[in-house]
Assembly symmetry: C2
Homo-oligomer: 143 residues x 2
């Protein structure tokens, strides 16, 4: 059950990035599943709560999710009573948190903060402060 003799892959930033992402995302997914949320649900709630009245389209752009895939996502959150939608004009719907949604978000935040703390704790101290800026530099640009 020993590792491969030669494994050059971890030296590739791209590979390390993918493995790190899948491993950590799987971990967070199970913790959020305990309260009936997926990561994308939690992200969405966070953004709505920080931007009351935001539209689904704007969320889609910010989260880099196709508009079409936003529909079942928001429908799920609405059906669960976590958000509500109020017409802004003839074609746009503004999104807001419900009381229940705020409660659920608070639960999620606790789990997320714990997760992020543990995640960072695994990174050797001398690298820790560099992680988030380095990661954000990789995607926050051409979007």
């Amino acid at each position: 059950m020993v590792a491969l003799m030669h494994d050059p892959l971890p030296n590739y930033p791209g590979y390390a990035l993918r493995r790190a992402a899948t491993a950590t995302m799987a971990e967070l997914a199970t913790r959020l599943a305990d309260i009936g949320l997926r990561q994308v649900d939690a992200s969405t709630l966070i953004l709505i709560s920080a931007n009351p009245g935001v539209t689904g389209s704007a969320l889609a752009r910010s989260l880099d999710i196709r508009r079409a895939n936003m529909v079942p996502l928001l429908k799920g959150l609405e059906d669960a009573g976590l958000i509500e939608r109020v017409p802004i004009d003839g074609k746009s719907l503004g999104l807001n948190m419900t009381e229940l949604g705020l409660q659920k978000l608070a639960e999620a935040q606790i789990r997320i903060e714990t997760f992020e703390k543990e995640l960072l704790a695994r990174v050797p101290e001398e690298h820790r402060a560099h992680l988030v800026p380095a990661l954000n530099a990789l995607w926050q640009m051409d979007s």
Copy 2:
């Protein structure tokens, strides 16, 4: 077309990690698709070439891929003439690169090296050296 007013998500290491991973992986995927490979194909070829005679099961463990999903992967590489399988004993098959596979791998390596270089170039210099060690610390442990 402006970003959201408040976007707290990039402050979360987990979110930054996911966005960075999906963005960069999509980029690499298109570059490898030009030569008919997926990332997992390239990873597999790299490991086989570094570990001649390795078994599919060992690869699956190293790449964290289910054994069952290894089957169509390796079949694809074999059908494309990139690898060959020779029986080790009654139940194991050793994997080796073909001549064509080595050529294809060389092409892939060029694209991968270019990609990795450009990826690192996007990271501000003071963070650059910390990225790979930080990432590997996130998953190289409990596996």
